[in-house]
């Protein structure tokens, strides 16, 4: 959004009068507050902001934002948001969805919105479980996971949101832990600046039905050693000591220690989020150790609304039709006297 605004908002301007009803301790609160804090930094007018959600715990989000919003039907938010954005490309459009909403019932819309690259942002609350329906396995639940609907263990292998997204031509993909609000806020600001469909996967802990599912990566005690937070143009270094890094060994990424076996900082891969070739981004997305967070891919491309606008402008400039009457009274018409 290039518009200038008269007043400086604070997060309070984006709080609605509705009482927030998520379970105590849920990461959804972190996401909500990060968003309310990010919006004043984006340079968008409040009335131009639209949140569209599907169904699920996460999808109550729009009710808590003092912006325009729609809590729609299960899985369809990307399609509704596409309509909003095509109708008015000046709006800042956000999709709020969960793992079940986006990758089960809404799988089709999810892949197609990414393919089309319309300029909107999708926040995917991935808690690897169905929360609102009280604890069934989701398309991101692990094999063997015991849930209400898999008492002997889940037999369906999971999707990786990032792999699915990149396979569907996502131009922007970021992943962030649900307990790191500062980084999350910045990613929200960055994804709004990005022109195209942005997908942000938040590793969101559900304290009731899947508590601790990301603990091995997100727990404060291990976070720095288990997560690699990538930044464009910077070497992929992680660890409490900042001495671990990634190098390419053949066709695989390998974790190395700087200062050991002759490895120096210069040997560490430098992150290029803007690269068109998706190969390395796919490898980063798949990596389990370290788990890669931050903006993994941010490739600049034409958006759907740009292509539509260019085409419409061209058709308009070549057409003799200005009013519908020009069309109705053109071609094979005849008079009856």
């Amino acid at each position: 959004m290039e518009t200038t605004i008269d007043k400086k908002y604070t997060y309070k301007d984006f709080e609605s009068d509705q009482e927030v009803r998520w379970c105590p301790g849920c990461d959804d609160y972190v996401i909500l507050r990060s968003m309310q804090k990010a919006l004043p930094e984006m340079g968008v007018k409040r009335e131009d902001v639209v949140f569209i959600s599907g169904i699920g715990c996460s999808s109550r989000f729009p009710y808590y934002m003092n912006t325009y919003g729609m809590h729609s039907i299960h899985g369809r938010a990307p399609a509704i948001a596409t309509g909003v954005k095509l109708a008015n490309p000046n709006l800042s459009v956000w999709v709020i969805t969960g793992d079940g909403d986006s990758m089960a019932i809404g799988g089709n819309h999810f892949i197609h919105v990414l393919r089309r690259n319309i300029n909107l942002n999708i926040i995917l609350f991935n808690n690897e479980i169905y929360g609102l329906t009280k604890g069934q396995f989701s398309p991101t639940s692990l094999v063997g996971q015991k849930t209400k609907s898999s008492p002997y263990g889940n037999t369906q292998p999971p999707f990786s949101a990032g792999e699915l997204a990149l396979g569907a031509q996502a131009r922007f993909f970021a992943r962030i832990g649900g307990n790191t609000p500062k980084e999350m806020t910045q990613i929200f600001i960055d994804c709004e600046k990005f022109k195209g469909t942005s997908l942000i996967e938040v590793l969101q802990n559900c304290p009731i039905f899947n508590n601790g599912c990301y603990d091995e990566y997100t727990n404060k005690a291990v976070r720095e050693d288990k997560q690699l937070f990538v930044e464009d143009g910077k070497p992929m270094i992680f660890g409490k000591e900042r001495n671990k890094g990634l190098v390419l060994n053949g066709l695989k990424l390998e974790v190395v220690t700087i200062g050991e076996n002759g490895i120096e900082q210069e040997d560490i891969l430098v992150h290029n989020a803007k690269e068109e070739d998706v190969t390395l981004h796919q490898m980063l997305v798949r990596l389990k150790y370290p788990l890669v967070t931050g903006i993994i891919r941010s490739f600049d491309d034409f958006t759907l609304e740009e292509r539509e606008k260019d085409q419409t402008d061209l058709v308009k400039s070549n057409s003799k039709f200005r009013k519908v009457d020009d069309l109705f009274f053109s071609g094979d018409i005849y008079q009856v006297i």
């Binding site: 009335e47 809590h71 399609a79 954005k85 519908v324 018409i333 005849y334």
Partner: protein, 618 residues
């Protein structure tokens, strides 16, 4: 080129029905369209109907691969494509076999004898050649070796392969028919020049074959009679021939211009509705926005998004697609946003008969959603008035802030007829409920006292930020509400809002009689068939039969019961098993209702209707 006119004085006919049939690759749709356009420009009233297989290129010569186009032209009012035909042009044995039953005994059949090969006869499951075994003795058969004559005519034109040459044989047939019915080929030649602008050889070939067919018919005098059909007495004005689906698309274009809103179409291809999509995507010059979506659900939900953002939003589909859209219709209904859903009905259930017509989605349109979710349902009744009802659907949805389902069907959607062109200036104004600021507090679910429509505040409007959603909403603020009394109140007010549309739609009228012994009742696309059947009775002197046709189904016109009660008996005629009949029974007590139903994927025939009505009058 000078075209010679028929030598002998043509015999004058009031009306004639012609059917062109052949393989689905034989160009029968084009041939039929050319004949009907030419006749319309000559001043005839016309009605046309294409009948083609669901397969794009079914195996050549097969019975199920036959494609047909029927045209009814007249110097009198023509309201249907007609039943039995006066002339059948059959380009192959399969076409003859599947259409012979429709030819009036004693009438004419033109066949391409070159196509009556052993192989083709076998494919058409003929044991003997019908041209030789005497089975066509009751018809006047004109045998012409069209394929070889076409080849001969084009032998000197360079740059044409064998396939392109053979493909022009439909123009030979058309040339013959032009001569038979005293029509000039000018319009068709002009059409070639425009359509094949970039390939002069194709223009030359088609023109030559068309004229050759015409000369051939004239010279050889195979055809004993030549006919003409004088211009019809139609209201003066500027006309064009329009297909129902095009008229639907144009109705929305007019509504967008008139309402000052931009048009958004979210759609997924489906037969027989896709032509509306094809038409609307052409019109980016009017700022039409469209999304060919990933599925039916995205078609409607993208339209809901566009509506939320302030566009005149529509989605187009056919029966199975409406089933998929059901949940989203409910969303649009509870969030009370404008949205038009067009259902071009086809034979069901499931995939059913995609290329055939039926009226079996009425109850789906009325009730095919979870919860109590009434919406406005209206139906167009002729190819040309698809324009008016598309416009009306847009007007109603914008003025009443509730979804409208517009029902058409394969018969009127693919049929064409003369349309006295309406200028946007002639159309009624369309108001909308958009608000840009409010005095005092903003309550998204406050309503207009008369229509009960709520205000429409679109994103981008300062200070009117609000949230809508599929959860039950508080009657004023629109916030989520689980209060039991509020839910009941909202359920009732949403129903009442639809009911009050009665105050904004025309009352029901009858044709031919306002009271009497029998009222024929129809709705939607059967208007032409029913109107002409009752008219026929009336012309025979039967004056106690009236005809009422419904375009407004939900709500029904206010005076419906009063009109129905003027007749002793009522017969509800539908191309389904009695869905509208159920609706009437549910709404009104004490009516003597009988039904006439047909579920064959075909329109009503004139004679079957007349027979039924006479039987009821006994």
């Amino acid at each position: 080129m000078v075209i010679k006119q028929p030598k002998h004085q043509p015999e004058i006919l009031e009306a004639v029905i012609i059917r062109f049939v052949g393989d689905s690759g034989d160009g029968m749709q084009l041939t039929g369209t050319q004949f009907s356009d030419t006749s319309a420009m000559f001043g005839n009233d016309i009605a046309t109907f294409p009948n083609y297989p669901a397969e794009i290129r079914a195996p050549q010569g097969s019975l199920y691969g036959v494609s047909g186009f029927q045209v009814h032209i007249g110097s009198v009012e023509i309201s249907t494509p007609g039943d039995e035909v006066d002339l059948l042009v059959a380009m192959n044995p399969a076409g003859l076999k599947t259409n012979l039953h429709a030819v009036k005994p004693g009438h004419t059949i033109i066949v391409d004898t070159d196509a009556f090969t052993k192989k083709n006869l076998e494919k058409a499951q003929y044991e003997a050649n019908p041209l030789e075994d005497g089975s066509l003795a009751n018809y006047r058969v004109i045998e012409v070796a069209m394929t070889s004559l076409t080849k001969e005519a084009l032998k000197d034109i360079e740059g044409l392969d064998n396939k392109s040459i053979t493909r022009t044989k439909n123009m030979f047939a058309l040339g013959m028919v032009y001569w038979m019915y005293d029509r000039s080929p000018e319009h068709t030649i002009a059409f070639f020049n425009k359509k094949f602008k970039s390939s002069p050889a194709i223009i030359e070939a088609n023109t030559k074959v068309l004229n050759t067919g015409l000369y051939f018919a004239e010279t050889l005098e195979l055809i004993p009679n030549v006919y003409t059909i004088s211009p019809a007495k139609m209201a003066s004005g500027t006309y064009r021939i329009i297909m129902g689906n095009t008229a639907t698309a144009w109705g929305f274009l007019a509504a967008a211009e008139k309402s000052g809103l931009e048009l958004f179409l979210g759609s997924y291809p489906i037969t027989p509705a896709s032509d509306i999509l094809h038409e609307l995507v052409k019109h980016k010059h009017f700022g039409v926005k469209s999304l060919q979506a990933e599925d039916e659900i995205a078609g409607i939900t993208s339209a809901i998004g566009a509506s939320f953002a302030g566009d005149l939003a529509i989605t187009t589909t056919s029966g199975p697609g409406l089933a998929l859209k059901g949940e989203a219709v409910g969303l649009a209904m509870i969030i009370e946003l404008p949205l038009v859903i067009v259902n071009v009905q086809r034979g069901g259930p499931s995939t059913g008969l995609p290329t055939k017509t039926e009226q079996s989605d009425l109850l789906q349109a009325l009730y095919g959603r979870n919860g109590e979710s009434p919406v406005i349902v209206i139906a167009a009744s002729t190819p040309a008035n698809c324009f008016d009802y598309a416009y009306e659907a847009a007007k109603l949805t914008l003025e009443h802030m509730t979804p409208v389902i517009l029902l058409t069907d394969g018969y009127i959607a693919n049929g064409s007829a003369p349309w006295k062109i309406k200028s946007a200036n002639d159309m009624p104004d369309i108001k909308n409920n958009i608000v840009t600021k409010v005095d005092g507090d903003w309550h998204p679910y406050e309503r207009n006292e008369d229509s009960l429509a709520r205000n429409w505040a679109v994103p981008g409007t300062p200070d009117l930020e609000h949230r809508v959603g599929g959860l039950e909403k508080d009657r004023i603020s629109g916030n989520v509400s689980y209060v039991p009394e509020n839910h009941e109140y909202m359920t009732k007010i949403r129903a009442e809002k639809i009911k009050r549309v009665q105050n904004y739609i025309p009352e029901l009228t009858t044709e031919f009689a306002t009271k009497g012994d029998l009222l024929v009742v129809g709705w939607g696309g059967t208007y032409g068939s029913l109107h002409s059947a009752v008219k026929h009775l009336n012309e025979e002197g039967v004056e106690n039969v009236g005809y009422a046709h419904f375009n407004y189904i939900n709500p029904l016109p206010k005076n419906t019961e009063a009109v129905l009660k003027q007749f002793k008996k009522i017969v509800v005629c539908e191309l389904n098993s009695g869905q509208f009949s159920k609706v009437l029974k549910m709404n009104f007590n004490g009516l003597d209702l009988s039904q006439f139903n047909k579920v064959q994927g075909l329109p009503f025939g004139n004679s079957e209707l007349i027979e039924k009505f006479k039987q009821l009058l006994k």
